[in-house]
Amino acid sequence: MSKLTLDSFKNKSKKAKKNNTNFIKVGLSTCGIAAGADTVFNVLKEELKKKEINVPVLRCGCAGMCYAEPLVEVKIEGMPWIIYGKVNEDVALKIIRKHVARKQVINDYIFSIKDE
C-alpha cells in the first residue's frame, strides 16, 4: 500500500459515491452477529455463487435498528432500495431467488425503504 500525502487529498472530489451499482450489504457488528448475521452473510454469498449471479455482498457496521437484526440491505437496479430485517437463512435464500433473480419484493421482512 503506498503512503498518502497531503496532495492526495487536494483533488479529492466531494463524495466519491458508488451508489449506482447493485449490491447487498449485511450488518456485521456484535448486535447483528448475535442475531445470526454471520450465517446470513455466508448463505447469501453461497447462493449467489450457485446461481452464478454477480452481485457483491458487502459488510457494514450497526445501522442502529437493533430490534430488526440481522439487517440486509439490497440495492438492485429497477427495484426499491430495501432494508430487510429479521433475516434468517430462509429469507436470505428468498432475497437471492426472488428479489435479486426475479425482481420480486418479499413480503413481511421490509424494515425500511431508502430514498435514492
Partner: protein, 579 residues
C-alpha cells in the same frame, strides 16, 4: 426479466390487524382496473412511521400516505397509481427525527476497509488541519463548535485541549476512553465496530493540536470485535501514512496503541483509567491535578470519550459554526443514545440536542411495548435518574436533564412502564455501584452499602418512614465526600426516584404493597378457586407447608406461614395462583 413498474407497500402502524384486509382491498381494486400485472402490493414489517394508522408507500415515487382508511383505497388507486397525482389530505412529510454525525458511516461503510472510509470524506479533516490550521486555529474552531464531552460530564472539549496544549512538556498523551461500563449502553461499541477510523482521525487531530506523540485506546476487554476492528484500522492507517512518522508527509508524527480494560466499572473514571494503563490497580485519585496537566506517567494527557472523538473530524471538515448551528443554546450537535427497555424499537439512535424524550420514545422508538402506559425514562445509567411521564416533553440537553435530577450521561436510555417498580430500579442501580465501588474512600464504600440495606428493607416490607430521610442524608454525604464520580453520583437514582415517585416508597413502607408487583416479598399469593383444578401440585411444591386443604375441598394459602418464594405460582399449570 421485467422490472416491476410500481409497488405499493402497506403497514398498519398501530395494531397490525388491518394490514391484510387493506391489502385485499388494494388487490381487488387493482384487478378491477386491470392493473394487477403492473402493480404489486407488499406487506411491510416497518416503514419507520409510527402511531399513524395504516401507512401506504408508493414506489418509485416514494409518496407516503398515513391514516389510510378502506374508503381511501379506490381514490389512491385512481388518483395516485393511475394518474400520478397526490392526495394532499393523506400525505405525511417524512420528518426524519434523526441526524447522523457521529454515526455518519455506521451501517454504510465496511469498517474493515480504510478505502471505504477514505471514499466518504475520511481523513479529509486531518489533511485540512495539517495543511491549513495551526493548533490554535483548531482550538478556535472547537471553541466555536461548542462541543462538550460525551462521556458523561459534558466538559467543553476545547478547554480540555487548551489546558493540555498550554503545558510546556515534550511528552504528552491522548487517551480514548472506550471502557463503556453503563448497563445497557453500547454507543461506543457500535462506533468502534462500525466506523473505527472516525475515532482514529479524531485522536490524530487531538495529538496535533496539543502536541502529543502517542495515543492509547482503552477498550473494555468484553468488546472483542471492536478490539479486532480498531487494531485492523490502526494497521491500515499506518500503512497509508496516516499514523507513525511524518504523517501525510508533514513533520508531525503520532502513533496509537490499544490497551484492554481491566474489567471494572470504575476503570472508566479517568484517573483510575490512567492508573490502569500504567499497570497499577484501577483506583481513582483526587483531582486536581487534572490529567490535562498531570496525567499518564505524570505527563499532560487528554482523555476523551469515543463519541466525543468521532465528532472531531466532521467539525473541522465542515467548520465550527456548522456544528454550532445544530442543537440548543448550550448543548451543540447531536447525541447518540442506546434506546432500550420497554420500547418497541430497541435501537441505537442519534438525534440533535433539543429533541424531546417523547419524540424519541414515540416517533423513533415506535412507542411502548404492548401498548402499556409509560412510567418514566431513565437516562445516565447508574449516575443518572428517572424522568417521569409528565416531563417527557422536556427537550434534551445537559442543563435540562440535570435540572430534572438526571444527567445526559453517556447515552443509555431505558424506557420504563407500569410494571417497573421505582424502588426496585433504585435498588438495581445502587447494587451495581456497591458492587463496582473500588473501596478506596469510606463514603462510597460504607454509605453505598448502608443505603442498599435500607432500600432492601423497604422492598421487603420492613421499611420505616424515617428511612426516607436517612436515604436523603446519606445521599448528600456520598455526593459531597466521595473521592470520584462513582460515589458522588451513585445516589442519583435513589434521589431522583424519591423526587418523582416518593409515593411509591411510602406505599412500600406504609401499606406494604408494590404496585408494579416487582418486590416479590410484598406480594400476596392467593389461589383463585374458579381456576383451580385441585391437582395439589402447589401443595406438594410448597417448601414450608403453607398450603392447606386437599383435593376434595380445594386449597388455600396460609399467609402467616407463606415465605413468598413464588414456587406455587411457578408450578401451577392453570394460572390459578394470583400475585
Amino acid at each position: 426479466m421485467q422490472n416491476q413498474k410500481k409497488i405499493i407497500l402497506v403497514k398498519d402502524t398501530n395494531m397490525d390487524k388491518e394490514t391484510s384486509s387493506m391489502i385485499d382491498k388494494f388487490l381487488f381494486g387493482l384487478r378491477e382496473r386491470g392493473l394487477s400485472e403492473d402493480v404489486k402490493v407488499i406487506r411491510a414489517a416497518d416503514l419507520n412511521i409510527y402511531n399513524k394508522g395504516v401507512v401506504v408507500k408508493i414506489w418509485p415515487e416514494n409518496i407516503t400516505y398515513a391514516n389510510v382508511k378502506k374508503d381511501d383505497i379506490d381514490l389512491i388507486i385512481h388518483r395516485t397509481v393511475e394518474n400520478g397525482k397526490n392526495i394532499d389530505e393523506l400525505l405525511v412529510s417524512e420528518t426524519n427525527k434523526q441526524l447522523r454525525i457521529v454515526l455518519r458511516n455506521c451501517g454504510i461503510i465496511d469498517p474493515e476497509k480504510i478505502d471505504d472510509y477514505l471514499d466518504n470524506e475520511g481523513y479529509c479533516a486531518l489533511a485540512k488541519v495539517l495543511s491549513e490550521y495551526s493548533p490554535d486555529e483548531v482550538i478556535e474552531q472547537m471553541k466555536i463548535s461548542g462541543l462538550r464531552g460525551r462521556g458523561g460530564g459534558g466538559f467543553p472539549t476545547w478547554m480540555k485541549w487548551n489546558f493540555a496544549k498550554a503545558q510546556k512538556e515534550e511528552t504528552k498523551y491522548i487517551i480514548c476512553n472506550a471502557d463503556e461500563g453503563d448497563p445497557g449502553a453500547y454507543m461506543d461499541r457500535s462506533v468502534l465496530e462500525g466506523d473505527p477510523h472516525s475515532v482514529i482521525e479524531g485522536m490524530i487531530i487531538a495529538g496535533y493540536t496539543v502536541g502529543a506523540q502517542k495515543g492509547y485506546l482503552y477498550i473494555r476487554a468484553e468488546y472483542p470485535l471492536a478490539i479486532k476492528r480498531i487494531t485492523l484500522a490502526i494497521n491500515q492507517a499506518r500503512e497509508k501514512g496516516l499514523l507513525g512518522d511524518n504523517i501525510l508527509g508533514t513533520d508531525f508524527s503520532f502513533d496509537l496503541d490499544v490497551r484492554l480494560g481491566a474489567g471494572a466499572f470504575v476503570c472508566g473514571e479517568e484517573t483510575a483509567l490512567i492508573a490502569s494503563i500504567e499497570g497499577k490497580r484501577g483506583c481513582p485519585s483526587p483531582r486536581p491535578p487534572y490529567p490535562s496537566v498531570n496525567g499518564l506517567w505524570g505527563k499532560p494527557t487528554i482523555i476523551n470519550n469515543v463519541e466525543t472523538l468521532a465528532n472531531i473530524a466532521p467539525i473541522l471538515h465542515n467548520g465550527g459554526d456548522w456544528f454550532a448551528s445544530i442543537g440548543t443554546e448550550k448543548s451543540k450537535g447531536t447525541k447518540v443514545f442506546a434506546l432500550t427497555g420497554k420500547v418497541n424499537n430497541s435501537s441505537l439512535i442519534e438525534v440533535p440536542m433539543g429533541t424531546t424524550l417523547r419524540d424519541i420514545v414515540y416517533n423513533i422508538g415506535g412507542g411502548v411495548l404492548n401498548n402499556k402506559k409509560i412510567k418514566a425514562v431513565q437516562t445516565g445509567g447508574p449516575s443518572g435518574g428517572v424522568i417521569p411521564e409528565n416531563l417527557l416533553d422536556t427537550s434534551i440537553d445537559y442543563e435540562n436533564l440535570q435540572r430534572l435530577g438526571s444527567i445526559m450521561g453517556s447515552g443509555g436510555m431505558i424506557v420504563m412502564d407500569e410494571d417497573d417498580c421505582m424502588v426496585d430500579i433504585a435498588k438495581f442501580y445502587l447494587q451495581f455501584c456497591v458492587d463496582e465501588s473500588c473501596g478506596k474512600c469510606a463514603p462510597c464504600r460504607i454509605g453505598g452499602k448502608q443505603m442498599l440495606n435500607i432500600l432492601s428493607n423497604i422492598s421487603e416490607g420492613k421499611g420505616d418512614l424515617e428511612d426516607i430521610s436517612s436515604l436523603k442524608r446519606i445521599s448528600q454525604a456520598l455526593q459531597k465526600a466521595s473521592l470520584c464520580g462513582l460515589g458522588q453520583t451513585a445516589p442519583n437514582p435513589v434521589v431522583s426516584t424519591l423526587k418523582h415517585f416518593e409515593e411509591e416508597y411510602i406505599e412500600h413502607i406504609n401499606e406494604k404493597i408494590c404496585r408494579a408487583k416487582k418486590c416479590s416479598l410484598l406480594s400476596i399469593y392467593e389461589i383463585i378457586e374458579e381456576k383451580c383444578k385441585r391437582c395439589s401440585l402447589c401443595q406438594r411444591s410448597c417448601p414450608v407447608e403453607a398450603i392447606n386443604g386437599n383435593r376434595e375441598v380445594g386449597f388455600t394459602i396460609d399467609q402467616e406461614k407463606c415465605i413468598k418464594c413464588g414456587k406455587c405460582f411457578e408450578v401451577c399449570k392453570f394460572e390459578a395462583v394470583s400475585l
